[in-house]
Subunit: 191 residues, 4 copies
Amino acid sequence: MTENRTVKILGIAGSLRAKSYNRALLRAAQELAPSDLGIEVFDEVGTLPLFNQDLETEGDPEPVARLKEAIRRNQGLLISTPEYNLSVPGVVKNLVDWASRPARESPLDGTPVGLMGATPGSTGTARAQSVLRQSFVFTNSPVLAQPEVLVGRARDRFDDEGRLTDDRTRDHLSRFLKALRDWVRLVGRKA
Amino acid sequence: MTENRTVKILGIAGSLRAKSYNRALLRAAQELAPSDLGIEVFDEVGTLPLFNQDLETEGDPEPVARLKEAIRRNQGLLISTPEYNLSVPGVVKNLVDWASRPARESPLDGTPVGLMGATPGSTGTARAQSVLRQSFVFTNSPVLAQPEVLVGRARDRFDDEGRLTDDRTRDHLSRFLKALRDWVRLVGRKA
Amino acid sequence: MTENRTVKILGIAGSLRAKSYNRALLRAAQELAPSDLGIEVFDEVGTLPLFNQDLETEGDPEPVARLKEAIRRNQGLLISTPEYNLSVPGVVKNLVDWASRPARESPLDGTPVGLMGATPGSTGTARAQSVLRQSFVFTNSPVLAQPEVLVGRARDRFDDEGRLTDDRTRDHLSRFLKALRDWVRLVGRKA
Amino acid sequence: MTENRTVKILGIAGSLRAKSYNRALLRAAQELAPSDLGIEVFDEVGTLPLFNQDLETEGDPEPVARLKEAIRRNQGLLISTPEYNLSVPGVVKNLVDWASRPARESPLDGTPVGLMGATPGSTGTARAQSVLRQSFVFTNSPVLAQPEVLVGRARDRFDDEGRLTDDRTRDHLSRFLKALRDWVRLVGRKA
């Protein structure tokens, strides 16, 4: 029965800062994931070159190839994104730009996606997620609608070691991860 | 009289591809600019590292420092952006992420902006520009509203040497550049 | 077998103009739908009052009740939207505002959605659809990602009687309707 | 001297609910406006019909004519908008749709705009404002960028009589109103 198999997804944090709240949120997701949801972390986002079609023509650079392979060997994708300038960070968009190629045959095509984000401010990456979600329309990647995970006022919710300590947020994240697991099972081609 | 002085703006094309339509569009803008609008091209976007706050803490990397200085010595900014995945390219967002720092005192604060874009498809970077425009709300950079420059079906409008040959587009671009010059004069602090 | 049953969806055109291209596009969808996709048209959008929570508290006005019932008795929703001012028309948003209530138990919750749009301009309602899509994140209504139906230059694609005559657009619409049917089957709770 | 003249703007709240937080926010703006900023309130939004081009062809309905006249006799526009379904309410978009006509000669053309919004949730209408702002690109209405007024958790900031009691929000609103006054003076054609 499909329902009993573990769902495997790839998790990517969209900040390069060592003490990033979004890395911390992704670690919390690994901790709180239900037993039948496995999250592999891809931690090489900072080594991707800026997207350049001329470069791509020569063949995917190694970190790009590893990113694509990591997406392909999982059934879904989970991105934890900061918000920079009311929008998706260049770091995150750059990884999507690489992974989206070639159009209609990319590793993202048909891959279910979950979005979450943490930020010191009160809007909790709402606008970054709106922008990022739009790109997955093009890549044909169905993004989970609800619940949204908007972790605002991050300083109050994580401790100094980057552990998510806020109980309401932990409960909400648990619910989101179950919904994401179910979403991958429902719409994923590889699930 | 302010009205007679030449307005100086910085032009940036958001694609790294050698034969990019957006580089070509920026060259066309230089060619078609009214005599009292000067466009300096910043061509080092591809050398910017991915934004990383830890890196920034050590001091702006050299290409970042040059980008910020180039924005500061001009009165306005003109970005020619491709559209990737219905959105702003990571390349473009990454330059905005660097230039937007530190918040409220960045080189972008108060700097008037014009947007344009070219693409092979029919929507002419409409969605990329919508996304990019939103970031300039945060940076407090007033973006010219009208006219919009959405150059769709770029293959029919540029020749093989990347020269903008379509007369209607050339006329429209000329009108846009005059409106941008007037906008910089109206809202620019340095004009 | 679920696969053999006819999928029933509700179609709504978001313009009140008698000769609206979006009404015409919806009629074309009815004509071109595969035999196992039925499209019921809801044509009372113009009789909905402007959303007012005080009014709602007294009980849904009759056209609102009929709209909600029509959504509930179908398995999916298809909206054909114009673009006004780079965004969703008030007419369309107003129907979504009514149908979205009460939150988390609305007729839209879990209802699969397809979007299409026609416009005289070249961008084909791209930005209206981006905006509208965002609202369905809140209502928890999974929107089909690909293919997009952006019918630009509508004057060249419909004849004077409002018949969609452009063959490429007809083929594209047919493909979209099959994808929508499959999407409703895949993610719909009632399919 | 222009600088000493009172700036007159039209204020519109985008909710029809009697106890609306956005009406309350608009009243607070009237109270907190600097002495050289006058805010006239247009309170007939609920009487506007849904936009219909056939109706418009017969001549603007009376409330539409009054809306357009009210915009024309002021120098700027201030909209206090709720957020419905992560977006602009149909009520607000509908008034923009009417006021935006005819394109390029509408009362909105060149009219400076300020946006603010209140909501019970934590994101403070961030996404509604992003969507609304995009429409003013089409209407050629320059929207003030900073500061943003996102009044989240409205229940804690207004008392039972709808008076804005939160001191930080009052201070922030005062700063916004001064910036809006300056913006109208800077970019307004009628100031």
